[in-house]
């Protein structure tokens, strides 16, 4: 059992950007931070609840990938749609999702839109925060979905883009290829944000793909692609912006691969025995939240007190969220069969069965059935 060979890149441990060259005011800078911080605090709480046996089923966390999520999602404009995978809670929060609602879903409570039917890990909210109802079961199934949403924009002449977050392992299934191939042929505004956290569950990239980077696959699709460091918030924004603009300008799909790291296991049950201490140490020095916090204080000269205030608020919102979720009722068992089919204009009415005698009075039929034995087919 050999550990996967690792090439450690020379990513800096400090955010490089010069605050004066950034278009963001203090408030905006803190908005980035509070989304990242809220997600981290939320997940720490969720992990604790899981260990206390208070969560049904498994728990998957995105700690360590907050910069990739927030940096990318911050580029969306009105009418854009996106889908997330297991590790993008900070993107939800940046878009305004309520922590309490997320806890409620994790607790299996009667919280829309899932009302207890889906895991807390997933969310669809087209009209609200813009999360499309994608297929979150099978890996990469959301790439064809992304092509479909992008196709819808194109057909309607909307200036919007679709942003599909995806893991690096999720670039192996055929759906990744079929979806991206179709999107490129049709030149659709699909932006793929690949969170290359270097493992798919326990499987390292060199068992997942024969190329060093997901972006190396781009020539096969004739699309714009690049690879960037995913834990520096502003590096993420810059790279994601290039991709988003490419797609929004009608040049077709774009893919950005962000090298990042999953600080926790695949799920909280996973002890990560397959991750070398060397690799873990490298990325611990590059915790996106720590890097950004330090940058805010040291480079952007934001008073530590203001940041601590945000952190306290995060804790407060998470605690309030748990309380809210605890207070909600479970869905009623008798509702389990509801909402399977959407009402439709021509759903059968009692009178439809009034006169159902519709004889097949067709002399051709004996000939027809006889013909079967003679049919030469071949008309396709």
């Amino acid at each position: 059992m050999t550990a996967p060979k690792i090439i450690l890149p020379d990513y800096p441990t400090e955010i490089q950007a010069d605050p004066r060259e950034l278009p963001f005011d203090r408030e905006q800078l803190l908005r980035f931070y509070s989304a990242m911080r809220l997600a981290r605090t939320f997940e720490e709480k969720l992990a604790a609840l899981y260990r206390q046996g208070r969560i049904f089923g498994a728990v998957y966390l995105g700690m360590g990938q907050e910069a990739t999520s927030v940096g990318s999602i911050s580029l969306l404009e009105k009418g854009d749609l996106f889908s997330t995978v297991s590790r993008n809670l900070s993107a939800w929060f940046y878009r305004g999702v309520e922590p309490g609602h997320v806890f409620a879903r994790w607790f299996g409570k009667d919280q829309p839109p899932g009302n207890g039917r889906e895991l807390g890990l997933f969310l669809a909210d087209l009209d609200g925060v813009g999360i499309a109802p994608y297929h979150n079961g099978s890996m990469a199934s959301w790439i064809p979905s992304g092509a479909g949403y992008a196709l819808a924009f194109k057909m309607r002449g909307q200036p919007n883009i679709y942003m599909a977050f995806t893991g690096d392992g999720a670039t192996s299934p055929g759906d990744f290829y079929e979806g991206l191939n179709f999107a490129s042929i049709q030149k659709l505004p699909l932006v793929i944000i690949c969170e290359a956290n270097q493992f798919a569950y326990s499987t390292p990239c060199d068992k997942q793909m024969p190329v060093a980077n997901v972006a190396d696959r781009a020539p096969a699709f004739n699309i714009y692609a690049e690879t960037a460091f995913g834990n520096d918030l502003f590096t993420v924004m810059a790279a994601a912006r290039r991709a988003v603009e490419h797609a929004r300008q009608g040049h077709g799909p774009a893919l950005v691969e962000f090298k990042t790291f999953r600080q926790r296991g695949h799920g909280e049950h996973d002890d990560c025995g397959y991750v070398s201490s060397e690799l873990r140490a490298f990325w611990e020095q590059r915790d996106p939240l720590v890097m950004y916090r330090r940058w805010l204080i040291e480079r952007a000269e934001i008073p530590a007190a203001d940041i601590e205030l945000i952190e306290e608020m995060a804790v407060a919102r998470v605690e309030a969220g748990v309380e809210y979720a605890d207070g909600l009722p479970f869905p009623k068992p008798e509702t389990v069969t509801e909402r399977l089919f959407a009402p439709s204009p021509h759903d059968p009415k009692p009178e439809d069965r009034a006169n159902i005698f519709e004889p097949i009075d067709n002399p051709a039929i004996p000939a027809l059935t006889a013909a079967q034995d003679r049919s030469s087919g071949g008309h396709f």
């Binding site: 064809p144 992304g146 519709e358 051709a364 030469s376």
Partner: protein, 324 residues
């Protein structure tokens, strides 16, 4: 009214709905420039343009996934499978995305999956299958199988307007072999209402799709032998018209279930099970089934014909029940 083949009736419904509703678009392999392997969409590219008539790469999972997504934001895609056998390549997107989306999120997925099914044309194991049971077993999908040109048009019109994923299964043998008077303008046939093809007292034959024609012919034959047969054409498997099945069986006290798909765990088993549970007191004979043998569809005519249900096989089973 005008004479239409089963195939022309399908084209007609598609064309009418595309004229009526700009959100309807179609995609699939060779459907635009070529007009489809069976020419169902011939002329559509000229009338509706490349944005609404899309030739796709050979990527069933990819274009099904894309179409499902478009369906959740107001479009009504109709996906053509060149042969239904290839629906297996898009299976995950259909059973795991399309079927579950509304239940999970309350977001409807109005989409139609259509394509040619069935054997009898010597097309071998990969161009002859009848996959309805897989989908009828999957909660969240509607499954429709027209047996006549009139139903083909009316049911497809309804399917396109339905707010749920509908698996619309055409029979390729009927495409050009079956022809009848069909209304020229639009009409709907509700999904979930069976039709009686013959009315009778002595035996109910419950069937759907192409096999219905075999059953009707059996009814005619046995009529000459003095028996009165009621042929129930289900037309849709999900939702299922249980009332019509049960009323018929409670009247005739005898039931035979017939379909072209292979027997074991075919949808006929569901129909037989419902009868055995809910019409038990009315049964004067066992509930029998006639279907294809449990093997892949062989190419060679003698094998294929031995494998498929036939008028003789059905008539024999019917006589057995009548004599019971």
């Amino acid at each position: 009214m005008s004479q239409m083949t089963y195939l022309q009736a399908i084209s007609s419904a598609l064309r009418e709905e595309m004229r009526r509703d700009p959100n309807v678009f179609i995609l699939g392999e060779d459907i635009a420039v070529f007009g489809g392997a069976f020419k169902i969409t011939q002329g559509f590219l000229d009338e509706f343009g490349p944005a609404r008539v899309i030739d796709t790469p050979i990527s069933e999972s990819g274009f099904v996934g894309a179409a499902c997504a478009a369906a959740t934001v107001g479009f009504r895609p109709v996906v053509e499978f060149q042969f239904i056998d290839f629906i297996a390549c898009a299976f995950d997107q259909i059973v795991n995305y399309a079927a579950k989306c509304y239940y999970r999120w309350g977001v409807p997925v109005p989409i139609v999956f259509r394509g040619p099914t069935g054997g009898g044309i010597h097309a071998g194991p990969y161009h002859s299958q009848n996959p309805e049971a897989w989908f009828a077993h999957t909660p969240g999908l509607k499954v429709v199988l027209p047996s006549t040109a009139k139903d083909a048009k009316g049911l497809l019109t309804t399917a396109i307007r339905d707010n749920n994923p509908v698996v619309y299964l055409e029979n390729k043998f009927l495409y050009r072999h079956y022809r009848e008077e069909v209304p020229d303008d639009e009409y709907v046939v509700p999904i979930g209402v069976a039709a009686l093809r013959t009315v009778g007292r002595d035996l109910s034959i419950i069937s759907y799709g192409a096999a219905v024609h075999l059953c009707v012919e059996v009814a005619r034959t046995l009529e000459r032998e003095g028996a009165s047969i009621e042929v129930v054409d289900l037309r849709s498997l999900a939702p299922l018209d249980r009332e019509t099945i049960l009323e018929s069986v409670r009247k005739t006290n005898r039931a035979l279930v017939v379909h072209e798909a292979n027997l074991t765990a075919g949808f006929g088993a569901e129909v037989a099970a419902i009868i055995a549970e809910e019409a038990f007191d009315h049964l004067d004979a066992p509930v029998a089934r006639v279907a294809s043998l449990d093997v892949p569809v062989p190419f060679s005519p003698p094998l294929e014909m031995a494998m498929l249900p036939s008028v003789d096989k059905i008539a024999q089973a019917a006589r057995r029940l009548l004599a019971y």
